[in-house]
């Protein structure tokens, strides 16, 4: 971002008349400056698209609430980790049930 500062000043009308003219002349011959300036304009266009940005921010808010929903004990877990946790729980539960049956029968007879 070699030209960022001068581009911002130009876009904000903060350059003197001389410097402004020099910048515009440079734009005509300097391709790197021209491309950086075009990219700056495009990005600012998107940021100024109020409708689009509002939609994006709403989407992000919803996305965050989904991440929270998928959190488990405060830790973000992916689908495969969730499945692993579930598998461990099933194994532990099965073990407890087996123990209960075993001791239940021993007490009964």
């Amino acid at each position: 971002m070699k030209y960022f500062d001068i581009i911002v000043k130009y876009a904000n009308n903060e350059l003197s008349v001389d410097k402004r003219e020099a910048f515009e002349q440079e734009l005509l011959i300097n391709t790197a400056l021209y491309e950086e300036y075009e990219l700056y304009k495009r990005v600012v266009d998107k940021l100024e698209d109020k409708d689009l940005m509002e939609f994006y921010m709403s989407m992000q808010e919803v996305s965050k609430s989904h991440v929270k929903r998928n959190n488990f004990f405060g830790k973000k877990l992916s689908g495969s980790v969730n499945r692993k946790v579930l598998l461990y729980l099933i194994i532990v539960a099965s073990f407890i049930i087996l123990l209960w049956f075993y001791f239940g029968f021993r007490w009964a007879f």
């Binding site: 734009l27 011959i29 950086e36 990005v43 600012v44 989407m59 919803v62 989904h66």
Partner: protein
Amino acid sequence: MTNISDRDLLTGIRNKDKQIIHYIYLKLLPVVKRHIVNNSGTEFMAEDIFQDALLILFNKIRADEIYLSSSFSTYFVAICKNLWLNQLRKNRNSTVYFTDEIERFNTIEDAYQPGLDMDFTRLFKKHFRRLSGKSQMVLYLHFNQVTPLEVAKQMGFKNKEYAISRKYKCLKKLISNIKGDPELSSFIFEDERVEIF
């Protein structure tokens, strides 16, 4: 979960209705995640694609370019699949074939036709999303006609000068990240300079 009509979903997207967006997330994100994870992607990539599809839909609706030839969910998932297929092709990983619903997917011709502006919107979103939450909010507020003093108050900055300098730091980072993305090279900025020699 109650069923919402396709028309209400489209209207909800247009109105940026969070409840509708939430409903679409709940109903369709798992479908998209499954498809992308099963086809060489990750869950993060899946959500990126999902959000891109929502943005494409939003843009189509506001430009009055939407015509649903199938149900909303089929149409939406088709956009996601097309986007993911394009992404795989860009990564030169075009040997991947989608095994599920390939025929139905092909019939939705209109689902996503790449356009220069929409592609740039996606590139912009990709890097905007990678900024920190605070940086996103600073840029959003500044470009939403909120005064620097108000931005400083809302964000808990010490003064408006700091809010302004933060805005430029975030903007510089955003532009610099986009500039460093190899995808940018596929955009040819129309050279409107006058030939002077």
